[in-house]
């Protein structure tokens, strides 16, 4: 349909040559992967931040080590390290137990790896945000007899989100762009689809630029969504006059 339209407009040079569905699938893969990784990393980030702020060193030291090590090493190196090692370790384990060979699903491995890496960045974001919630709020919540989980859910979380949102937005953008790297570990994402389409039609430039534009579309849409969220979570606070 899209191709017919282009033909009609005299723009058949921009035809997708039947690779439209492949590109769509790739885009869907990229979106799915980034959203699921976001979920994993936010959960890891909340756990990590709580561990980093906890009183006991048993929790604090591993969390500190996690954020320092992961944030100091490039994401692509970690991706290759974790992705390939996971498979090697699992093979070793299954051989030792004399089970059948299990192949890790690349998609699941991608989500786990990305989530694990960006969890470290989210830990730092959430830690800063939790520290920004005034102490009196926590004390008041305790005085009202709220339990630990209620305190987090009704008092800390809604307030820290306001401070965390700019950081979350930043991390999300970096993570979205990092998903372009998963084609290197063999996932059929948008970049892979664009490369395949480009190579078989000898129009690599066109399809790569198209992929870049799709990414631009996703990042722009996220920007708008984030601005909306920021406005929502800043309800009740006054912004400085400009």
């Amino acid at each position: 349909m899209f191709d017919d339209l282009l033909q009609y407009l005299g723009l058949s040079a921009f035809s997708l040559k039947g690779f439209g569905p492949l590109l769509l699938e790739g885009t869907w893969m990229t979106i799915k992967l980034s959203l699921l990784s976001l979920l994993v990393s936010v959960v890891l980030g909340l756990i990590g931040a709580s561990a980093k702020l906890s009183g006991t060193a048993v929790l604090r030291v591993p969390a500190q080590l996690y954020t320092t090590l992961i944030r100091g090493v490039p994401d692509l190196v970690l991706m290759l390290l974790i992705f390939y090692s996971l498979q090697t370790w699992l093979t070793g384990l299954t051989e030792a137990l004399e089970w059948d060979y299990i192949e890790i699903d690349p998609f699941a491995a991608g989500v786990i790896t990305l989530g694990f890496i960006y969890g470290a960045y989210f830990t730092e974001t959430f830690r800063g945000a939790m520290l920004a919630v005034p102490r009196g709020q926590l004390e008041a919540a305790t005085a009202y007899g709220l339990k630990r989980s209620q305190r987090f859910r009704y008092v800390v979380f809604p307030q820290m989100m306001r401070y965390a949102l700019p950081g979350i937005g930043n991390n999300w953008m970096v993570m979205l762009k990092a998903t372009a790297l998963v084609s290197i570990i063999g996932l059929a994402d948008l970049v892979k689809a664009a490369q395949d389409a480009g190579k078989s039609t000898y129009q690599l430039f066109y399809f790569l630029v198209l992929a870049a534009l799709i990414y631009l579309l996703i990042t722009s849409a996220s920007n708008i969504a984030l601005r909306w969220l920021e406005r929502r979570y800043s309800a009740g606070t006054r912004e400085a006059l400009r």
Partner: protein
Amino acid sequence: MIELLQEYWRPFLYSDGQNITGLAMTLWLLSAALVIGFVVSVPLSIARVSSRRWVRWPVQFYTYLFRGTPLYIQLLICYTGIYSLEAVRGQPLLNDFFRDAMNCTILAFALNTCAYTTEIFAGAIRSMNHGEVEAAKAYGLSGWKLYAYVIMPSALRRSLPYYSNEVILMLHSTTVAFTATIPDILKVARDANSATFLTFQSFGIAALIYLTITFALVGLFRLAERRWLAFLGPTH
């Protein structure tokens, strides 16, 4: 593990006998991209905060494009995309430039870091204390002198913490260079991995080298901040 180190420490650090590889290559890529990016981003950041729309908008469009798309795609476009065009291969000068993987990689990296750096510097210029500018104007400074003696020295200093972040992100981004056949640290690690099947060790060594560079850069920037941002610290 020992054998891996014995065989590969040289490629990991500086050379495989013929070419510069590993750490030396990564550092060269990083510094080339950063120097070009820095030099270009200073005038661009001034254009970015210009009150004239036709000066501001092209720069804004450029940073929007390059910050909104992944560096990996930018590199692919520079390295494989542009060279696949007939028009480029027809021109001897362009053909020579884009045939070389190193040129394409440095071009892509420099364009990318320049976009981020431009926004960092532009932000710093925008948050410039108004009184300082007024005072400078009262002393008769205007035009490029105002920028050269008052605005830029202050803006560049205040952007140091954000710039250090960008430098470290750029270091981490240089890892995609291996997809353009550049023999950086990660490429050596992949070669070591496929030759020895010691996956964890090969990539682990690469991770350790990157970690060391990151810590060294963080330390350097801390020193730089102590030197150039002393005026923002607590007064004694």
